[in-house]
Amino acid sequence: MAVKISDYYGRYKSEVVAIVMLVEVFLTSVAGAAAWVLWQYAGLDPLSAFTYSLVVLMGVHVIATPIIVNMAARPLKVLWQAIRRVSNDPGQSPTILPQDEKNGLKALVQTVYDLSVAEPVAAPANADATKGAIYQTLVDDMPVGIIALNDKADVIYTNTNAPTHPDSNQKAIIELTFEKTDSLDTWLASCQNKLRDTHIWRRVANKIPGEEDRRIFDVIGYYRKRGEQGVETILVTIDKTTEYAPQEEDMDFIALAAHELRGPITVIRGYLELLGQDLQSITPDQQQLIDRLQVSSERLSGYINNILNVSRYDRNHLKLHLQEERVYDIIASLIPDLALRAKTQNRKLTFHISDTLPTIAADRSSLSEVISNLIDNAIKYSRDSGEVVVSAGVKGNFIEMTVKDFGIGMPGSVVGNLFNKFYRSHRSRQTVSGTGLGLYICKAIVESHGGSIWVRSVEGEGTTFGFTVPIYSTVADKLAAGDNGNEKIIDTKEGWIKNHAMFRR
């Protein structure tokens, strides 16, 4: 039978005292017996026998004491975790509800959780209707949007400024285009084991670029399990269109310009290649000039691709065609260009990629851009004659690739923002050219593959970027069930061509 909360402490104290006394009596008896044996049978004199057994007893105590304390302090630890959880203390551990019913700890912890969501003191009974109406007007007309959801994530209240629209059944639908990997649904799913939580999204638009009446919001989500009046989640939307839209408009213009730049860059890259082939005998100095032109045109081409991909991604037009690829082959096709980039900047580029790694499910063109971007960054931010090491290995169901430099590194305040759109640290703005879009699109591409991207950096020592992509065999079934009717099409870095080994007429 379960113990009542009021009886818990007395009972627990008796239990601990009994256990400690038993252990003490047992250990002391064993030590006494040992001394007697040493005196009687080992031929030691009584003092030596007593001294030996005392030493053994002390040793056993040193081992037994932390075990006993740990056991005795366990309820304190469980309560401590529960209280941290309900008070939303940062770095809190997951909710723990002990299963040992008979000593009453579970009931105690459950009480902590229940109290944290208990009804507050009721409003005075004389709070009149006028006051209620004022509250209603205040909330309805607030300059921020307010959306309340019930425990099934259905919208049960919206104020005037909330970005919602009614569906055919007059049910309110939230108009916010969250990123797939950081959506409202994923956050709500993560709240299932919590009592309270808060989450902030930045730059969430109600519509994709190009659509009319597009607004961009910062959104704050409050979650409270079993909240009052059936309200479990509240979303507050702050319209930041005036702050964010100019950058978006810049982006539209840049994307348009980037499209126009594709023609000339095609010509520049092509003719440079022809020129390089045509020039028979040139001096090393002249070769260096050609190399630099080539590297710069490749870099420009990379910027243009980043811009166009960001523009596509923001409009939900970034399409990936995942198919079976070898990391080794992708890297091999990039090496000539990357090696030239490293050479012209006086960096040493080293690859540790085995050709026996399992194949991956990847969009070759997009993944090539991720790898080029990361290596390009490593080259930019490493020291003169510094080394950049590219490695790949198996990590669970994924292949993990890392790009490591031994350059200037970054402080923690910078690392946290690196994958944000347009983000450039104060230092890099002053010292290195860039658009602030490369890592943003890398993250978008990697996550669209079902992988993740990370960075580790130590100031003065260097930076490692890593990302994962799924091993083909782990997702092959899913791909076969999807739109993989294009197995006879070879997606190349530059478009697609039919696989003519299969398409012989």
């Binding site: 095609t266 290649e273 530059e494």
Partner: protein, 124 residues
């Protein structure tokens, strides 16, 4: 399949001559045509092993040419057709695939050397 003759339909002089020069250098017989109408006429002769087709063309768009060549019936069964574009769009790529083009390539991403590699892959 061996490729000897190539019809290059491309209105941009610089790009047209760039590919033409590189392909000729490699021994291919290249005919560079700069407008859509003329290009279609030339393609319909059916004498080319490979047709490289730009999309944005004066007189007749590349996609229209493709429809005529491969729409209801394949009027050039002995030619491979590869669409070259710098304004790639999903619909365009899909159309190229539906019209049974043999390839769809982004000009900004292929250098002449890469185009040669791709053409050689047709010959395997």
């Amino acid at each position: 399949m061996t490729i000897n003759t190539i019809l290059l339909i491309e209105d941009d002089l610089f790009i047209g001559e760039m590919y033409s020069r590189s392909l000729s250098h490699e021994g291919y017989k290249v005919n560079l045509v700069k407008d859509g109408e003329q290009g279609l006429k030339e393609a319909l002769k059916g004498t080319y092993d490979l047709i490289l087709l730009d999309v944005m063309l004066p007189e007749k768009k590349g996609t229209e040419i493709l429809q005529t060549l491969r729409g209801d019936e394949d009027k050039v069964p002995n030619s491979r057709i590869v669409v070259l574009t710098n304004y790639e769009q999903d619909e365009e790529s899909k159309l190229a695939m539906q019209s049974k083009a043999d390839g769809y390539l982004i000009k900004a991403d292929i250098t002449p050397r890469r185009l040669l590699e791709i053409i050689k892959s047709f010959e395997k």
